[in-house]
C-alpha cells in the first residue's frame, strides 16, 4: 500500500469498484456496451418508443430489445414501473453478479445505496388526453383544473403516476437487494450519476457503509422530454443519419442526441473486497463538486467552476495533472459545451493534455445516467489499456484542438483517468479513478 493513499481522507478507508452493469442503446449489459465502444459502434437510431415522426428531432439513443414483459411476469410489483427503473434493475442484477454478490452483500446494514435516478418515464398519452378534455374557452385559464383532476382520476393509473417519480427507482433497488444501510437519490441533471458515485464514495470513506450500490438511470424518451430539449435548441436535428448525428468536438456538431439507459456500480471498502477475494476494477480516489453560479441558460465561458471541480478531485486524490492518462469528457456535442470543456482542460493541463474522448458520440446523452457509464468506460480503459473513441469526429473545429481519440479506439496504457460531468444549471462533477495495485 502506498503512503499516498493512507493520507487520503480522514479515515484512510479506500474505495474500490468491484462490479458493473449497464443498459444503453448500445446493448443490454456492460460487457456488450464495452465491446461496442471499443468497436466504435453507434447506438443511435430512429425513435420507436412513440411516434416522433413530426418532431423536430426524431432520433435518439433508445434502448431496444429490453425484456420488459419477462421482468413484469417475474416481478408483479413492477407492472407499472417506468423504463428507467427496469434499466436500473437489470444493470444492478448484472453489477451484483459481476461483483460476486448475487447472494447478498454481507451485513445488510453496511450495504447502502446512493443513486442518481431521473424521472422514470412519463405517461404522456393519458396526460395529453386529460388536458385536451379539460381545455376551456376561457383565455385567462386555458385548462379547467377541476375538469383535469376529474379526467386524470378516471384515465390515469395511480401506481404509474407514483412510479414515474424519481425516488421510486431506489425503492425498487433497495427492496430487490435487501439494502438496509444509508439510502439516497440525487438528481442534478446531466451530472446526477457522477455526483451519486462521488457521494457513495464519501459514505464508504466516512465509514457509513462497506458496500454501496451507485450509478444512475433515466428515460426522458417521451414526448415532453424530447420537446423540452428541442425547445432549448440543445438537440441535433440530423434525422437522416442517426449513426453519425452525435459529433462531439467536430466542427459540424449541432447538438446532443437524447438517450436513455442506466449504469450501476458496486463500490466497496478495500479490505472488505480483499477479504472476499473480489475482482477489483479500480480505485476511486477523488471527487470534486462545484457550482458555476453563473447564468441559468449559459455555461460560464471561462469554465471556472468546471476547472475547480477537476482541481478539487485531483487534490483529494493527491494527483497532479501530469498523472492523468485519460479524460472521459462530458463532451455533449453542443456548440458551447465542447469549446468550454476544451478550454478548461487546456488551461489546467497546459502543454501535456492526455487523450480525451466522449462516448456520447456512440451512446448519446443519457442525462442523469450518462456519468455512470462514462465512469465505467474509464475502468474499462484501465483494465484493457484501450481508450474508447470519439466517433463521428472528422472535421476538426479550430476551437476544439485536442487529441479526442477520433473515430477508432486506441491502445494506450491507462493507470489514472478522470471523468467529467457538467449539469445543466451549473453543477460540475469530476471523479478520479486509478488502477488498483496490491
Amino acid at each position: 500500500m502506498s503512503d499516498k493513499k493512507s493520507t487520503n481522507g480522514f479515515t484512510g478507508r479506500r474505495v474500490v469498484v468491484t462490479g458493473m452493469g449497464a443498459v444503453t442503446c448500445l446493448g443490454l449489459g456492460w460487457k456488450e456496451n464495452w465491446e461496442g465502444m471499443k468497436a466504435g459502434r453507434s447506438g443511435i437510431k430512429k425513435i420507436s418508443v412513440f411516434d416522433a415522426a413530426c418532431f423536430p428531432t426524431r432520433i435518439a439513443g433508445e434502448v431496444t430489445g429490453f425484456p420488459f414483459e419477462s421482468w413484469k411476469t417475474k416481478e408483479p410489483a413492477l407492472e407499472q414501473a417506468g423504463r428507467g427503473t427496469f434499466f436500473a434493475l437489470a444493470s444492478a442484477d448484472e453489477a451484483m453478479a459481476d461483483a460476486g454478490l448475487s447472494k447478498g452483500a454481507g451485513d445488510p446494514e453496511r450495504f447502502g445505496i446512493y443513486f442518481g435516478a431521473g424521472d422514470s418515464g412519463h405517461d404522456f398519452e393519458s396526460f395529453a388526453e386529460c388536458v385536451s378534455q379539460a381545455i376551456s374557452t376561457d383565455e385567462n385559464s386555458l385548462v379547467d383544473k377541476a375538469h383535469y383532476i376529474e379526467f386524470a382520476g378516471r384515465l390515469q393509473s395511480a401506481r404509474r403516476e407514483l412510479e414515474i417519480q424519481p425516488f421510486m427507482t431506489v425503492t425498487h433497488l433497495a427492496a430487490r437487494y435487501g439494502i438496509e444501510g444509508p439510502a439516497s437519490n440525487c438528481l442534478t441533471a446531466c451530472a446526477a450519476s457522477s455526483q451519486a458515485i462521488g457521494e457513495a464514495f464519501e459514505q464508504i470513506r466516512r465509514g457509513d457503509a462497506d458496500v454501496m450500490m451507485t450509478g444512475g438511470s433515466h428515460s426522458l424518451l417521451h414526448p415532453l422530454g424530447l420537446t423540452g430539449f428541442s425547445l432549448l435548441t440543445a438537440l441535433s436535428t440530423r434525422n437522416d443519419s442517426p449513426q453519425t448525428a452525435s459529433r462531439p468536438f467536430d466542427k459540424t456538431r449541432d447538438g446532443f442526441i437524447l438517450a436513455e439507459g442506466a449504469g450501476v456500480l458496486i463500490l466497496e471498502e478495500l479490505s472488505h473486497a480483499l477479504a472476499r477475494g473480489a475482482v477489483i476494477y479500480g480505485e476511486i480516489t477523488g471527487y470534486g463538486a462545484t457550482s458555476d453560479a453563473y447564468r441559468l441558460t449559459d455555461m460560464d465561458p471561462e469554465g471556472k467552476g468546471a476547472r475547480r471541480a477537476v482541481e478539487i478531485a485531483l487534490k483529494k486524490a493527491s494527483l497532479s495533472p501530469a498523472d492523468v492518462d485519460y479524460i472521459s469528457a462530458h463532451g455533449t456535442a453542443t456548440k458551447v459545451n465542447d469549446v468550454i470543456e476544451t478550454r478548461v482542460v487546456k488551461g489546467l493541463f497546459g502543454e501535456k493534455v492526455p487523450p480525451m474522448s466522449s462516448i456520447k458520440s456512440m451512446l448519446g446523452h443519457m442525462v442523469a445516467a450518462a456519468g455512470a457509464v462514462e465512469f465505467m468506460s474509464c475502468l474499462g480503459a484501465i483494465r484493457d489499456s484501450i481508450i474508447p473513441p470519439t466517433i463521428n469526429l472528422n472535421e476538426p473545429d479550430p476551437e476544439c484542438d485536442l487529441d479526442y481519440v477520433p473515430r477508432e479506439a486506441r491502445k494506450h496504457s491507462v493507470k489514472t483517468a478522470i471523468s467529467n460531468s457538467f449539469g445543466f444549471g451549473g453543477q460540475n462533477i469530476c471523479l478520479t479513478v486509478e488502477k488498483y495495485e496490491s
Partner: protein, 435 residues
Amino acid sequence: MKRRIAVTGLGLVTPSGKGWQAYWKAALEGRSSIRAIQSMELNGFIPKLAGEVLDFRPQDYITQRKSIKLMSRDIQIAVAASCLALSDSHLDMTMIDRDSFGVCIGAGIINSELDELGMGIRGGIAPDGRFDMAKFGTDGIKALFPLWFLKYLPNMPACHISITHGLRGPNNTITTSSAAALQAIGEASRIIERGDADRMLAGGTDSKINALGLSRLSMLGFLSGKNGGADCYTPFDVSHDGLIPAEGSGIVVLEEYNLARQRGAQIYGEIAGFGTSAQNQPLGTEHGFSRFAKERAINHALRDAGLSAGDIDAVVADGCGIPQQDIEEAEALQSVFGKSLARVAITSLKPVTGHTIYASGGIEIAAALQMMREDTVPPLLNLRSPASRCSLPFVTGKAVKRSVRHILLNSFGLGGQNASIVLKKSAERPAASHV
C-alpha cells in the same frame, strides 16, 4: 477531530407566514393555517383543504424580473426562503469565500402549470377534438414557452439559489419524497464535516397546490377525505385518514462550528447525527415490514450522534396522518425508545401548516431548533384519541416547558424513504453581538 455543524440561519416561507418567527408562533399557539383552497377554482373536486402561502410576492426577493419568468412557484418560494435564511444568519456576504459555500435542496419533479403546458397540448388537438401526436409535433411544440422545461427540472431550485447568491461550492438536489429536505440538510452537514464546504444552504421546497399535484395525491389515496375546518388534519388520531397538502419552503444556513463561533453568529443548535434508510420490502406486499426501515433510520442517526435513545428529550415525529405511516412510525419509536419512551415529549407539526412534502423537514427543523432554545415543546394539534397502535407520550393541548437538550426529527417519504436527524442544543452563547 470531526468538524462540527452549526445551524446559524433559518429561512421559511410557509402558510403561517414569512420567516421562522411566524411559524414558531403559530406552532406554540396551536394555530393552523389550513383552509379551503383559494388560489384555484376546484368546483367538483373534493377534498378542498390545503395550507397555502398567500400574499407571496416574488419581486420582494428577486430583483431581476427576467429571472422570475424562469421560476415556477416552487423555485420562487425556495429563493425567497434562501434570502430569508441568509439575512437571518447575519453573514456578511461581501466578506466570505463563496467557493466553499454550497447548496443542497430537497425537491422533486416540479409540477408544470397546466395553463402553460396547455398551450402546447391545445396546438396538438386535431379538428375531431382528439389529441394527435403528429399535430403536437408540428403545431403544439411551437406554442410552448421555449424555456418551459427549465422551470420544472428538480435541480432548478438549487441552481437559482446558487446563482442568486453566487454560491460556487457543491450543489446537490435530493429527490427522496417527504424525506428530501431533512436528508438534504443531513447530506449538507456531511459535506461541511468532510471539508468540501464551510457553509451550506440546505432544505427543501414544494408546492402541490396545483392541478397536477392535487390530482396525483388524490389518485394515490394520500389525501384526507375530511372537508371541514382547520382541525381536520389529525395525525396519530383515531380519525386519521390521510394528509392535507401544503406548500412552502424551509432552508437553513449550516456553518462549520468554529467559523460560526469566530464571527459571533447566533447558533441555533448543532446537527449531531444523521441517518437514512429505504424501505426494503417490495411495495404493494406486506407493508407492515417497513416499520423496520423507519427504525433503522432513527438508529443510524442516534449511533451517528453517539447517543442512545435515553439521551433524547423530545421528538418531532413525521406524523403525516396516513394511517399506515402513523402506525409504522409509532411502532418504530416504541421499539427504539423502549423503557425510556415515557420520559420523551413527542409532537408533530404538520397540522400547523399542512404537509409540505419535499419541504417538510426544512420547515420543521426550524421549530425543533426553537424548542431547544426555549425549552418548550409545542403541542400536536387535533389529537383527541390516539389511534390504535399509535400510543405515544404526545404533547397535546398547550405547549409544555421542559428541558430539551437533544431532539430527534423524523421525515419519512411517501415511497419508502426515511431520514432522521438528531439535533443538539448549543451550549455556548454567541461570542459577540451579531448585530
